[in-house]
């Protein structure tokens, strides 16, 4: 088990190194004249040249990457070229915002999709058809459209929640809830649609197995059969789908944070990439890569815990 974790972590480190190099070179290829971008149209050619030299952008690409890598390894990710903030501060400050939305959306979608999936599988008929239809709608309607609709109805017209901005949990619990509920709902709907289908399929598949018939024959209550035994078996594939959803939700957060003007990693990603703020983009790439590696590792461990037949060696 320990060897498995160590091996996975090591391959994660290699993966992150490769990603960082690819991201760095691609950003440069697409970057254009960064000093001019920072300074705008008012700056003279001399000022632009001075800024280019100040940022070290006149050095060979590999030298620049080498410098970035050596300081990144020591924990120094540099400062934003566009607002001077430490990249470590930018990214860590926004990480908690995005994670609170994405984890919230994952929890909501995990709970609701299991409930809906089991309901559809057990009841069948009209309820199943209804759940299937809702899943289809949730899957088909893009998240940003749902987000725009939610803002209009619940923030602008009813005034229940905030239309823009984010209140940290440490400042006010009610303010925090008012700022995260709509984004969580907007993000969850698509995920619920996908995972509920997965759970429904797995439960139907599992209930036709021999061991379920045996359990029923032994007189176990239906709830016990479903929640103790069937879900345990059906949980593995659902967890895998949920892991993919989690990573997908990080992507969805990019758009949702933009609509709600929430200072999370998504909003920062959009701004930093469109500006060409390479230190910030690199910080975000590393953070996202670490999250994906860790989430995948956790899911593997969770699957092993759920089902001892899944070996981790």
């Amino acid at each position: 088990m320990l060897a498995f974790i160590v091996r996975r972590l090591l391959s994660g480190v290699v993966l992150i190194a490769v990603i960082s190099f690819l991201a760095f070179t691609l950003l440069y290829a697409a970057g254009g004249d960064i000093a001019r971008r920072i300074l705008g149209e008012n700056a003279t050619a001399e000022t632009v040249a001075k800024k280019t030299a100040e940022l070290g952008l006149n050095r060979p690409l590999l030298v620049q990457y080498g410098d970035w890598l050596t300081s990144a390894v020591t924990g120094n990710l540099g400062r934003s070229w566009f607002n001077g903030e430490l990249v470590s501060v930018s990214v860590s400050g926004r990480l908690s915002v995005t994670l609170s939305i994405v984890i919230g959306a994952t929890l909501v979608s995990a709970i609701l999709s299991v409930l809906l999936g089991v309901l559809a599988a057990r009841r069948g008929g009209a309820i199943d058809a209804g759940v299937q239809f809702l899943s289809l709608v949730g899957f088909a309607v893009p998240g940003f459209l749902i987000a725009l609709l939610l803002v209009l109805v619940f923030a602008v017209n009813l005034g229940w929640f905030k239309a823009t901005g984010y209140t940290p949990l440490t400042t006010s619990l009610s303010g925090w809830l008012a700022s995260v509920i709509l984004p969580i709902v907007a993000l969850s709907i698509g995920a619920i649609a996908t995972v509920a289908q997965q759970v429904r399929g797995s439960v139907i598949d599992a209930t036709s197995r021999d061991y379920v018939r045996t359990l029923r024959a032994r007189g176990l209550s239906e709830n016990s059969v479903i929640y103790r035994h069937v879900l345990r078996n059906a949980g593995g594939p659902a967890l895998a789908v949920l892991a993919v959803q989690f990573v997908g939700l990080l992507g969805g957060a990019v758009i949702v944070e933009q609509i709600f003007a929430i200072p999370g990693m998504g909003q920062l990603s959009v701004r930093a990439t469109t500006q060409g703020d390479i230190p910030v983009v690199m910080g975000l790439v590393i953070a996202f890569a670490i999250i994906v590696v860790v989430v995948n590792l956790l899911i593997d461990l969770a699957q092993a815990a759920l089902n001892p037949k899944v070996r981790l060696s």
Binding site: A30, G31, G32, D33, I34, R36, I38, L39, G40, E41, N42, A43, T44, A45, E46, T47, K50, K51, E54, R79, S80, F82, N83, G84, E85, V89, S90, G93, L148, V151, L152, A155, V156, G159, W160, F161, K162, A163, T164, G165, Y166, T167, T171, S172, L173, S174, G175, L177, A178, S179, I181, Q258, I259, F260, A261, P263, L268, V270, R271, G276
Partner: protein, 507 residues
Amino acid sequence: MFRWKATAALAVAAALVLTGCSGGGSGENGSGSSDRLTLTAIIGPTSYDIGAGAEYGNRSPFFQAVFDTLLQKDSTGEIQPWLATAWEYNDDRTVLTLTLRDGVTFTDGTPLDASAVVASLEHFRDGTAPQAATFAGKEFAAPDATTVTITQAAPDPSLVNLLSIAPGLIQAPSSFGNADVSTNPVGSGPYVLDTASSVTGTTYNYTANPDYWNKDAVKYQNLTINVLEDPTATLNAIRAGEANGAKIADNNTISEVEGAGWTIESNELDFQGLLLLDRAGTMAPELGNVKVRQAINMAFDREALLQTLQTGYGTVTEQVFPATSVGYDEKLDSTYPYDPAAAKELLAEAGYPNGFTLNMMSTPAFQQTFDLVAQQLSDIGITVNYTDPGTGNFITDMLAPKYPATWMALEQNPDWQLINFMIAPGATFNPFKYEDPKVDAYISTIQNGSQDEADTATKELNTYIVDQAWFAPFFRVQGTFATDANTNLDFWPTNAYPSIFDFSPKN
């Protein structure tokens, strides 16, 4: 079944709690109270170290909140005393002497005296802020604690104006070496940035400076500026009452903003149109002929372009000097009426009866503009060959120069700045360094002559530039700012964002 009921009850209870909570939450926004002014901006400040990032335009409120300028523009655009109570030129206008207000301190307690001002001005001049070059060659000195002199080799008609915008911002020299100087400003301004509750790039919270020298000018105890890059988010903030004032980046949303009960204030600072840069014809020989440049001017149906591209919010123009300039002449705006047939005749007279091909740049963000430009030019026989240099290279390639002509949106500065921005031989937006003895003579009079001579020369220069068709402007775009029902505003005619001193509560 019990579980289902319990779950449902829990959900209802949670919903009630949340609704109650969020009611309290929206009350905390405090918009509408004179205690706090909440504004939205479309772009955040770059470095708060003025040597690296001092900027006005859309970034002005962030800098105005924490720094003072030496001079100040009032809501009519007139220059007024501020940190400097008086200013005077010597006879040949090479030395400007400023008298400083006594007893002003920076928010870290260090005194704002002449030596601090000199250090700050030098810090700006030697740095990499966008306007750093406006101070190139200027020397600053502090003969005594309240006197500062600025010495220059030749008169600079824009100097006094510069001291009221970014170059005139005064930063505490004690902060130059701070590790967090770019995000934690130290000035003498009306507010202090609350770094703990601010999110760099997104939300900036300021509290009133308790020791400010001009407390009467500060109308709100707290100031919040939220950066909303997405026009939809701005509109949502307005509709939800989450701000008192908002910069409207998309004029197509004006009717919805007014529908929410907000008041629209506007000015016109930028023009959009073609820069016919290669006036000597070194890259595109056709543009060397003034008749060709005039024909291009006659190819555009400016009213239709304004309606299509800006929903009519703006004013058609054929000159690059703004309506606030002494050089502006309304009559010049009807020099080149839309007339494709006459334009074709002019092209034929110039020796291009079959037209020619013109290389220009395009960029996806303004695709509709580029399509219309190409279509109107093709109507007179000019085929446009577009290249997309990539967003990050648009200005760089324009100034390299890699194209003989280009579409662009450019800022209309005060006269001397405008001349040095797009007309003078060394101007940034005269990348071919095109020179004309007549233009040079006008520029020399504007720089060295008396005020009357300079004003006359500015008018003549503008007339000449229009006559020679150096540019083909289409229209000036309306700059829009909106305020809620509780807020008064006098909008500066000369900056993209209002002065924070020009907001006041209505009640």
